[in-house]
Symmetry: C2
């Protein structure tokens, strides 16, 4: 069974059980924490930013003890951390590794690009349908206008 690197090599220590979110663009680590509502998490979090990475130059990593995320929940981070790898740990062993996937819907994470949209005026949470994943296009549930990748503003 694949093991995490020996503990002495890790800047951010191994966890016994839980989920490692690796290869986060370093400047987006705290946005991931916000999206996953981890700032009030009652178990151990271990976090590193601006760590060296062969793949990415610099990366962030979040290790969430005793937490196992449903895909529906963890894929919310795909917009801010499309490169993220999810590693499920049990008894210090890697039991699963997968990439995040851009979900079908994006709820309460992105602002609607259309200034006239009701979501920018009423107290409603934003909701988009993802109509293109590669060249990211989000269609607003309320006004139906497209918010494209370079217009994405996070709430």
């Amino acid at each position: 069974m694949e093991k995490e690197e020996p503990r002495k090599e890790l800047k951010v220590s191994a966890i016994e059980n839980g989920t490692v979110i690796d290869h986060i663009p370093s400047q987006n680590v705290f946005q991931v924490i916000k999206i996953l509502n981890l700032s009030n998490y009652m178990n151990q979090l271990l976090i590193g930013t601006n760590l060296d990475s062969n793949k990415m130059g610099k990366k962030g990593i979040i290790k969430v003890s005793n937490k196992f995320f449903k895909s529906k929940v963890i894929n919310k981070i795909a917009l801010v951390a499309p490169t993220a790898t999810l590693i499920v740990i049990k008894n210090y062993n890697v039991v699963e590794k997968r990439k995040v996937e851009i979900p079908e819907e994006v709820y309460n994470i992105v602002k609607c690009f259309n200034p006239n949209c009701i979501a920018n005026h009423e107290n409603v949470e934003t909701l988009f349908k993802v109509i293109a994943k590669d060249d990211l296009k989000l269609q607003c549930h309320f006004c139906e206008k497209i918010t494209a990748k370079n217009n994405i503003v996070f709430l």
Copy 2:
């Protein structure tokens, strides 16, 4: 010269140079990050929450590589982390240890308790004079009313 504990004992690895903010009430770690504006920090941060502590039961710790804080800046966290210890590290050695101190003024961290205060209506940053440190009392610069410890709401 005092050294940090041997690396293999640390959940949050030793840093070569910088500042360790230890003994933070665990639930306030992200507030400390916000107050010190560390979410965009360009060097390495290593963070742990809900770590075991002899002194406090559970604690948070933030290690800020290559950063040395002036007292005026770091004492801003004293309201949310009065128990915090600051440890200055050079070449992996502890060169200084001190406690945070409640500052004389509190700027843009706390909300004024007086709902009629101009600071709650105009786009001004709040400012308080600390008139009592033990039984915390903050006097608003604008309306002169006292916001006491149990009325403190952080911005």
